[in-house]
C-alpha cells in the first residue's frame, strides 16, 4: 500500500486519477481503517487529504458556509457561527461515533461512505447542502442527495474527490433538526433517522421545508411529500399527523440485525414529527 | 447407614428412587459404594458430584466424614463465572 499526503487538491486529484489498482481517500479514516482492518478492502493507494489547507477550513461567505472535506466533526461543533445557522447539521455531525471518532471523522467522508444510516447525511439533505467535487475534468457541484447511489456506493468518478460541503445561507426565521433512533444512548448506528429544515413566513406559517429520512431505503431519502404536509401550516396536530404518514409511506426499509421493517416504518414517523417540532421551535415558531 | 438424597439426573440410575441408603463413613466411601451399587451413577461421579452435609456443600473433600443422622444431599459439582 502506498500512502500519500499531498498539500493541494490538485495534487490529490492527480494521484487519484493516475492510480492503478484501488485508491481511497483518507479523511477521518473512521470507515476506511475499519474496512482495512476487517480485510474488506486492501487499498493500493491511500490519499490523506488532511494536509490540504483549503480542505481544513470552515468558511463563512455571503452565500453560506463552506466546510472543507478534511474538517472534523469535532471542529464543526466548535464553530459558533455554524452552530447558530445550522444547529441540526452540527448536531448530526456530533452524533457520529464517539468523541474519539468525532476528532477525526468528516461529513464529506460520511457522505462518500454512502451508508443509508450515515448520521450527517439526512441533516445535510434537509439543509439542501451541495458537495463541491474536484476531479481531472475540473470542479462540479451536486446536491448531496445525489452523491450516494446505494449502500457503500457513490457517484464520484475515478480521480474525483469531494473538496467541500456547501451549506446555503440562512435567511429569516429558519431552523433545522436531526434525530436518530438508536437502542443505546450513544455509539450505535442509526436504526432510523430524520432530518428537517424549515423556514417560517408570516405568523409562524411554514413557507419552506425539506424533510429527509435515513436507514429506511438504500440511500438517504429526500421526502417531498413529507415537506408538503407541513408547508403552509403552523405545525398543528393535523400537519404533524400528515407529516408522520408521509414519512412512513416513503419508507422502503429492510429487516436486519439493527431493526425491522415494521419498527423502522413506525419510528420514522415519530422522528420526523419530533424533528419538525424542534426545527419549528428553533425557527422561532410557537 | 446414611440416607443419601439424589437429584433428578441420578435417580434413573437408582431405579427412580430419590433416596438411597448407603453404608459409608466418608465421602470417598460413599462415592465408591454408590458406583458399586448403582453403576449408572459412575459417569456422574466421574464428572463431579458435590455433597451437601447438613447444608454445607463439599465439592472436593473426600475425607469429610458423614456424621450419624446428618442430612446428605448429592448435587452436581457446579461451575461459576
Amino acid at each position: 500500500m502506498q500512502y500519500e499526503a499531498p498539500e493541494t487538491t490538485k495534487a490529490a486529484v492527480g494521484l487519484l486519477a493516475k492510480a492503478k489498482g484501488s485508491a481511497y481517500v483518507l479523511a477521518g479514516g473512521s470507515d476506511l481503517l475499519v474496512r482495512m482492518k476487517g480485510g474488506f478492502v486492501e487499498p493500493d493507494l491511500v490519499v490523506d487529504i488532511k494536509r490540504i489547507k483549503a480542505m481544513r477550513e470552515i468558511k463563512k461567505t455571503a452565500s453560506g458556509f463552506t466546510i472543507g472535506a478534511a474538517v472534523s466533526c469535532a471542529e464543526m461543533n466548535e464553530n459558533k457561527a455554524l452552530i447558530k445557522a445550522w444547529p441540526g447539521v452540527v448536531e448530526a455531525a456530533g452524533l457520529i461515533g464517539s468523541k474519539q471518532v468525532q476528532s477525526r471523522c468528516t461529513v464529506a467522508g460520511n457522505l462518500c461512505n454512502s451508508s443509508p444510516a450515515a448520521d450527517s447525511v439526512p441533516a445535510l439533505v434537509a439543509a439542501g447542502a451541495k458537495a463541491v467535487i474536484q476531479g481531472p475534468k475540473g470542479k462540479r457541484k451536486v446536491a448531496v442527495e445525489d452523491v450516494p447511489v446505494g449502500p457503500g456506493k457513490n457517484s464520484l468518478k475515478k480521480g474525483e474527490l469531494i473538496e467541500a460541503i456547501e451549506l446555503p445561507a440562512r435567511k429569516g426565521k429558519s431552523g433545522d433538526a436531526y434525530l436518530r433512533f438508536i437502542p443505546r444512548s450513544e455509539m450505535d448506528i442509526a436504526v432510523v433517522s430524520a432530518g428537517v429544515s424549515l423556514t417560517l413566513g408570516d405568523k409562524g406559517v411554514i413557507k419552506d421545508a425539506r424533510v429527509s429520512l435515513g436507514a429506511v431505503a438504500p440511500t438517504v431519502l429526500l421526502v417531498k411529500a413529507a415537506a408538503k404536509a407541513i408547508i403552509g401550516t403552523k405545525l398543528d396536530e393535523a400537519a404533524l399527523e400528515k407529516l408522520g404518514q408521509a414519512a412512513s409511506a416513503a419508507c422502503k426499509p429492510i429487516d436486519d440485525k439493527r431493526g425491522t421493517i415494521e419498527f423502522r416504518t413506525k419510528v420514522a414517523a415519530v422522528l420526523a414529527k419530533r424533528a419538525a417540532q424542534i426545527a419549528y421551535k428553533r425557527a422561532g415558531g410557537k | 447407614m446414611a440416607d443419601i438424597h439424589l437429584w433428578g439426573a441420578l435417580r434413573p440410575a437408582a431405579g427412580g428412587a430419590s433416596v438411597v441408603s448407603v453404608n459409608a463413613k466418608t465421602i470417598r466411601e460413599l462415592f465408591r459404594k454408590l458406583a458399586e451399587d448403582y453403576p449408572g451413577m459412575e459417569p456422574h461421579i466421574a464428572r463431579g458430584v458435590a455433597v451437601s452435609i447438613d447444608g454445607k456443600i463439599y465439592r472436593d473433600d473426600w475425607q469429610r466424614e458423614l456424621p450419624e443422622g446428618a442430612e446428605i444431599y448429592l448435587l452436581p459439582r457446579i461451575q461459576g463465572g
Binding site: 500512502y3 483518507l26 475499519v34 476528532s103 | -
Partner: protein, 156 residues
C-alpha cells in the same frame, strides 16, 4: 516498504519506520514499546486505545502510523509528571474507578480531553463525554465520581 516517520510522543521526538497500513496503535505497542494503549476491538468501538493527537482524543486503532508525521502525540505513559501523578490518575485510584484496569488508560486519556475542554462538566456531560470508552467491570459509577473529583482538584 517502510516509511520513516518523525513525531513527538509525550514531549519526546521519536523516529520510527512503519508499513503504511499499520495503525498508530500497532506502532505504539509493537514498535515503540508503549503498550499502555490497549486493543479491545480494533474498530473504534471501545476506546481502550485512546490517545491524544494534536490535543484531540482519538482511537489510535483508527489512525495510521504514518499520519503521525509532525504531530504531537500523548499517551497514558506521558500522563504523570515525573513521580507526580495526574489528578485523574490519583482519583481513579482513590475511587477504585478500575477493577480489571484494561480500559483505564483509555478512560484517563478521554477524561483528560474532556476536562481540558470542559473543566466543570455535569454528570451528564461526563457520561456522554466518556461514552466512547467501554468498561465492563465497574458499571461506570466510580469512574464518573473519579472524574468529577479530579475536575474539582484541577479547577483548584
Amino acid at each position: 516498504m517502510g516509511v520513516l516517520v518523525t513525531t513527538t510522543i509525550n514531549g519526546d521526538t521519536v523516529e520510527f519506520a512503519c508499513d503504511p497500513h499499520e495503525s498508530l496503535l500497532d506502532v505504539l505497542r509493537n514498535r515503540l514499546g508503549l503498550s499502555g494503549a490497549k486493543e479491545g476491538c480494533g474498530t473504534g468501538d471501545c476506546g481502550s486505545c485512546s490517545v491524544q493527537v494534536d490535543g484531540r482524543v482519538v482511537c489510535s486503532c483508527l489512525v495510521l502510523g504514518v499520519e503521525a508525521e509532525g504531530r504531537e502525540i500523548e499517551t497514558v505513559e506521558g500522563l504523570s509528571t515525573g513521580t507526580e501523578l495526574h489528578p485523574l490518575q490519583t482519583k481513579f485510584l482513590e475511587h477504585a474507578a478500575l477493577q480489571c484496569g484494561v480500559c483505564t488508560p483509555g478512560f484517563l486519556m478521554a477524561a483528560k480531553a474532556l476536562l481540558e475542554k470542559n473543566p466543570d462538566p455535569t454528570e451528564e456531560e461526563i457520561r456522554f463525554g466518556l461514552a466512547g470508552n467501554l468498561c465492563r467491570c465497574t458499571g461506570y459509577d466510580k469512574i464518573v465520581r473519579a472524574v468529577q473529583d479530579a475536575a474539582k482538584v484541577m479547577r483548584g
